[in-house]
Amino acid sequence: MDFDIKRLGFTLLGLLIVLNWGLLMNAFMRKIGARVARRIGIPWHQPWIDLFKNYSIRSQITHGLMFYLGPIFRLSGGVGIFLFMPMIITGDHWLNYSFQGDLVLIMYFQFFGMLGMALGAGEGGHPYSAIGISRGLSQFTTIEVPLTLAIISLAIQYDTLSLADIVRAQQGGFMHWSMWTNPFATAAGMLAALGTLGHSPFNLVMAPNEIPIGPPTEYHSTFLGVLQSNGAILHVVEAALFMNLFFGGATNWIEFIVKTFLIYFWSVFVGMVFPRFRIEQSVTWFLKVPLVLGVIAVVMFM
């Protein structure tokens, strides 16, 4: 692998943009939530302040090595997905390191962070962490079913598993997007997105009221800061994944921001309306309508 300083520079810049956009997007979403509840809500810069605050906490405790490594795995997972995902399709600058692996790599790299985080939280020894993780893993198994169906449908449609190629195939106008050319896959994928982005009704993992915020119960200060940074990046990157798959990707940062915002807003919007599912409800939910949509999507292109 040739070392390419220019690519590294652009990638880091992209990471910075994504991080800040993620924080801002989080603020927007919470603001929207507040407005729905007829509150004013947080100031738009609150996420940055929280991040600074958390990094500025003076004391930390650690439960052991894996506890320490957990957030690192988590952030590596988030950043890794970013690295292997093309952000802006035009030109070569914002494709990051997507030439090293395709869609399958991204799909499975999601687990890197989850697994590391689960291990770290597990070493914390808190029963709530384990409960949260068991719920998260349970839910994730079925979320992946419609998502995989949608992806396979796209792979058949575009005859490739390369994300960049999928995006390129959608260029050339609004009507070329998978959303129009493959509406069932889009529907299945976007329903799966509800689960992936982890808002209500699929937020049983964190469930602040019954198992105080689930896996990260024991995480605080800098560890929490790392997790927050990851959350910001991951939300954008996952929205970008759906954008690339179904909504024609992005040709510039403005388009990127608008599209990721709307995709993320979709999950927030649903979350505002629906209460939280119980675990067996959320597990089986993905095996109902989204599964059928995914099957139709695959059958259409078989």
Partner: protein, 1039 residues
């Protein structure tokens, strides 16, 4: 050469002389023994004589006339063989009965001598009436011998015996007389020349004769009298009845077949009915002698059926009949003798054998001989039998023989399991009498020796070297030495064999190289862990090496016989490995039953192949044109019993979970690959056939469902090893799925998975096994928080689960990537979805595994546990290095694999550009991903260390616990029933329907057995009615 008539004369002379000896019992016994020895010598002399030269049989004319005017005896190779068998058995039987004979005095010795004499004459005579006379003499003598051990039971059973045989011989006499009436002669040869079956009335006469002989063979259901004798008589007598009297009757039957050739067809039916039904009845027996009686009757049924098949089997008839007969002869007598040594009324008490381990070994040899495992003679006999029958398209016969053998396997292995596993501390000590032990031992040795001789007779077995088996025998002989010597020798043996075979295979056959590598290198690595054990570990190394030898034979086999030989050897070895586990008696039994069933399916498949191609080469599978789907299904089922595909998987979890710590990886990571190898061979050979595509399609579905159910079930386990066992089932489901795709990428995936599964499952099983050794429990919820005590084990498990789950950057991801590409390439989307879904379900159990054991709360009693043994850590870390290499440089593995698979599937290969693999759909750079992730991970790690380097290290109860503190680690560790919600949602998928199905099957069979055996109500009269009824029914069936 001594005239064979002197066998009769000296026996008679001594018998009369005994009367003059008065009370001198010891002298009498000496005389009897030397007489028997003399008889042995005479028959042995003739045996050697006939063996060396193809001379005409000797005819002896008593009274100087030729037949039909006088009785004539014949001494040919067959007669010499049988008299030799009879006399040797008689001699050893007398030695065995020394004590009893001395106690009862010289009258009994006289009777014993007369009994042997009668049998000898029955073999030699060519005169029908003479046959009747000596069979009566023999029965009367036997009736006397039955009360050698006079107890309340033996007397009534003797009475039943006398009236039943009396009735039967009356038929014989009647038939004889009428045969004489119609043919004017009593000589068998003349009668057969007279073709009485075409004479009205003559047919009835010979029918009566032949049926009387058949009835002497105790066919089901007219055999209640014989069973009682088996049960009640002294086992030494039982051995004679079952071993030599039965053998003699068989020979007589063989001799008389020309007289009534029309009986052959019905004889096959009668024999097989007897075979299947007796074995079925054996299922519900607990008395060892009666059980052996049922088994005897079954074997006699099989043998008489074989005699009936004389025409079908052609040249092979003698070989087949003789090998099966000899197996029966030695094994049954040996088992009866063992029963006499133990002298217990319940087969569960046979655990007593373990007090004298050599007896257990003999027991095992006898049992394996009855079932037909290599290298014992009946293996070759059954193989040839099936081959020849298939060649004659006698599939019904093949099926019923296999079913009967399978049922026989059920109770024999149940019995063996009892002997090996049940607690024997309550059972009394017993003294091993040399006079009882010597005959048994001789029989065991002779059995193995005849097996070796038989193997030399087989065609298609030339490729196998016996050196590994000799090496194993040597390891067995030094079983008393400490463990490190045996372990080192075993490793050296495997290493030597690897050195011998692997380099050569690398250049000639990549496929075999890879599997040989998995088997042998894997064997070496798992054996290294054996150094961690203390003491002698008796019996472990021979059986482990037998398994490895079997695996190596499978790889090296070029003919189906060699393959099957290796397959059965491996099954036997792994059975003993599995049964060594603590609670594995039932699991080992179910493993064995599935294995036997699978092996018989394979046997049938090979048989059909042989029938068409007349070739034993494995390659001949590809030349098959008829019945391809049937052969494919049979063989696939056989192999899938080893890969534990859904439906055939129920033996696996228990067997793997209860096995010893270093045995689990052997049977999971290594043994299961034998099934994969078999499937690969099968598909390579038959894959081109268009009829296979449909079957492969269903196999694909089966693989996908296996993966789903296996993973789902693993998520709900509380036992760490059981969890891994279910995981193995699922992983083998992936492999089956990938194989069934029958495309380049599919097979690449399968091969990649096979190697990877070997690596990580060996790591996981070894590590968990080592942890289990340290913490003393399998239950995960009883562990927890061990990361601080066992960092080495934790890292190993971490690497193992990352590799298994398919998370980049470790090697498992390669498998997933290949899978996606293969599935899309093959258009198997929905099966693919199930496989991916199950792949994600795998996260559930993987997390549960690592969390419940290493994370969470450390328990009180495990606070001072230390890290896993170094001897386990060494192979584990070698395997980890392997995983790391494959992860960083996947092209080193995938490129040669791709090249190999291109032989069969040239289309759809991956394109390589350095480390970047490109398929039709996607691309993947394992090397680059590894570096990228490594750099990123390190950067973030450094950043966090800079930020929180001063973090306070706290202990396990320093957690936020709703303003309280935890009270006990046990109540704080969230592990038991971890996925309760998931179970509620999707647990129905893993409801144990399949286990229920098999349980229902076994219940049915057992109740059928119980129901059928009610016909033996103990009333002697009823048994006579059965005899008459049998006679009448067969009469109407024949005429």
């Amino acid at each position: 050469m001594v005239n064979p008539i002197h066998i009769v004369s000296i026996a008679l002379g001594v018998a009369f002389a005994l009367g003059f000896l008065g009370k001198r019992d010891k002298l009498s016994l000496g005389l009897v023994l030397s007489t028997l020895a003399g008889m042995v010598a005479i028959s042995a002399g003739w045996f050697i004589h006939f063996l060396n030269s193809s001379v005409e049989p000797l005819q002896i004319f008593t009274g100087g006339f030729k037949p039909p005017f006088a009785i004539n005896l014949q001494m040919g190779l067959a007669e010499a063989t049988f008299t030799l068998l009879i006399n040797v058995a008689g001699f050893l039987g007398a030695i065995y009965l020394t004590k009893e004979l001395l106690k009862t005095g010289k009258n009994m010795m006289l009777i014993f001598l007369v009994f042997i004499l009668g049998l000898n004459v029955m073999v030699m005579t060519r005169d029908l009436f003479n046959l009747f006379v000596f069979s009566e003499i023999q029965s009367i003598a036997l009736a006397g011998l039955i009360i050698l051990d006079p107890n309340r039971k033996s007397i009534p059973s003797g009475f039943k015996y006398v009236i039943a045989t009396g009735l039967i011989s009356s038929f014989l006499l009647l038939g004889t007389v009428f045969a004489y009436y119609f043919s004017g002669t009593l000589n068998i040869d003349f009668i057969s020349q007279a073709s009485l079956q075409y004479v009205k009335g003559g047919a009835v006469a010979v029918f009566m004769v032949i049926l009387a002989v058949i009835l002497e063979l105790k066919p089901f259901p007219a055999n209640g009298w014989a069973l009682d004798v088996y049960e009640s008589a002294h086992p030494g007598i039982g051995a004679l009845v079952s071993g030599i009297a039965g053998t003699t009757s068989l020979f007589v039957l063989y001799k008389l077949i020309p007289v009534a050739p029309f009986i052959s067809d019905i004889l096959i039916t009668l024999g097989l009915v007897s075979f299947v039904a007796s074995n079925l009845l054996g299922l519900s027996q607990t008395n060892p002698n009666r059980l052996l009686g049922y088994s005897s009757i079954g074997q006699l049924g099989l043998l008489s059926a074989t005699i009936g098949m004389q025409q079908l089997l052609g040249d092979k008839f003698i070989f087949i009949a003789l090998t099966i007969l000899i197996s029966h002869f030695f094994a049954k007598a040996g088992l009866f003798w063992l029963s006499g040594i133990i002298n217990r009324d319940d087969i569960k008490d046979w655990a007593m054998l373990r007090k004298k381990p050599i007896l257990l070994v003999l027991f095992g040899v006898f049992i394996f001989s009855l079932i037909g495992f290599p290298p014992l003679p009946s293996f070759f006999g059954k193989w040839s039998l099936i081959m020849e029958l298939s060649a004659g398209n006698q599939y019904m016969l093949v099926t019923s023989i296999l079913i009967g053998s399978f049922i026989e396997g059920i109770y024999l292995f149940r019995w063996l399991g009892y002997a090996i596993k049940l607690d024997f501390s309550d059972l009394p000590e017993f003294k091993l009498n040399i006079s009882k032990f010597l005959p048994t031992l001789t029989w065991g040795i002779l059995l193995i020796a005849t097996g070796v001789v038989a193997s030399a007779e087989m065609e298609g077995l030339s490729g196998l070297s016996y050196w590994p088996l000799i090496f194993i025998a040597f390891i067995y002989l030094i079983d008393e030495l400490p463990i490190y010597i045996k372990n080192t020798l075993s490793i050296a043996g495997l290493a030597f064999y690897s050195w011998l075979t692997l380099p050569e295979l690398y250049y000639t056959d990549m496929l075999r190289f890879i599997f040989m590598g998995i088997f042998l290198i894997g064997g070496i690595l798992t054996l290294i862990a054996g150094y961690a054990y203390k003491g002698k570990r008796r019996g472990f190394y021979p059986v482990a090496l037998i398994m490895y030898a079997g695996l190596a034979y499978i790889i090296q086999a070029s003919t189906t016989l060699e393959f099957f030989f290796g397959w059965e050897l491996m099954t036997a070895g792994s059975y003993f490995l599995i049964i060594r586990g603590k609670k594995s008696i039932n699991h080992a039994l179910s493993y064995m039953l599935f294995s036997i069933g699978g092996a018989y399916a394979i046997l049938a498949g090979f048989g059909i192949t042989f029938a068409e191609t007349q070739s034993m080469l494995i390659a001949s599978l590809s030349q098959l044109s008829n019945m391809v789907p049937l052969v494919f299904i049979l063989l696939a089922i056989g192999f899938m019993t080893k890969t534990a595909s859904l439906g055939l998987h129920i033996w696996l979890p228990g067997a793997h979970a209860e096995a010893e710590s270093d045995v689990s990886p052997m049977v999971s990571a290594i043994l299961l690959k034998a099934g994969v190898f078999g499937l690969l061979l099968l598909m390579i050979a038959m894959g081109n056939n268009p009829q296979i595509a449909t079957i492969a399609y269903y196999l694909g579905w089966l693989g996908a469902l296996t993966a789903l159910v296996g993973n789902m079930a693993a998520a709900f386990q509380e036992d760490a090893k059981r969890l891994l066992a279910y995981s193995s089932i699922a992983q083998l489901g992936y492999i089956l799925f990938a194989l069934a795709m029958m495309s380049h990428l599919g097979w690449l995936t399968a091969m990649y998975y096979s190697i990877n599964h070997f690596l990580y499952k060996a790591i996981l099983f070894l590590t968990i096994g080592a942890v289990v050794l340290k913490v003393g429990t399998h239950s995960m919820y009883k562990m927890g928080g061990l990361i601080k005590n066992m960092p080495l084990a934790f890292i190993a498990v971490l690497i193992g689960i990352i590799a298994l789950s398919g998370v980049p950057p470790l090697s498992g991801f390669g498998g997933k990537w290949l899978f996606y590409n293969a599935v899309i390439d093959k258009h198997w989307y929905f099966q693919g979805i199930i496989v991916f879904f199950s792949g994600i379900v795998a996260f559930l159990y993987l997390y549960k595994l690592i969390y419940s054991i290493f994370l969470g709360q450390l328990k009180d009693n495990l606070r001072h546990v230390t890290d896993i043994s170094l001897w386990f850590a060494i192979p584990i870390y070698i395997l980890i290095i392997g995983i790391m290499i494959i992860s960083a440089k996947p092209e080193w593995l995938l490129q040669p694999l791709g090249k190999m698979i291109s032989q069969w599937y040239p289309n759809g290969a991956l394109a390589w550009n350095g480390g970047l693999a490109t398929s039709t759909y996607g691309y993947w750079n394992g090397n680059g991903v590894m570096i990228t992730i490594g750099i990123m991970f390190t950067t973030i790690l450094i950043w966090l260390i800079v930020l929180s380097r001063k973090a306070q290290k706290v202990k396990q109860f320093n957690i936020v616990y709703a303003a309280e503190a935890p009270q006990r680690p046990e109540t704080t560790h969230q592990s038991y029933n971890m996925y309760a919600g998931y179970n509620k949602a999707l647990g129905w998928i893993v409801a144990p329907k399949i286990t229920e199905f098999w349980n229902m099957m076994s219940d049915w069979i057992l109740s059928l057995a119980h129901f059928t055996r009610l016909i033996y109500n103990g009333n002697g009269q009823r048994y006579l009615i059965y005899i008459l009824g049998y006679f009448v029914i067969i009469y109407f069936l024949v005429f």
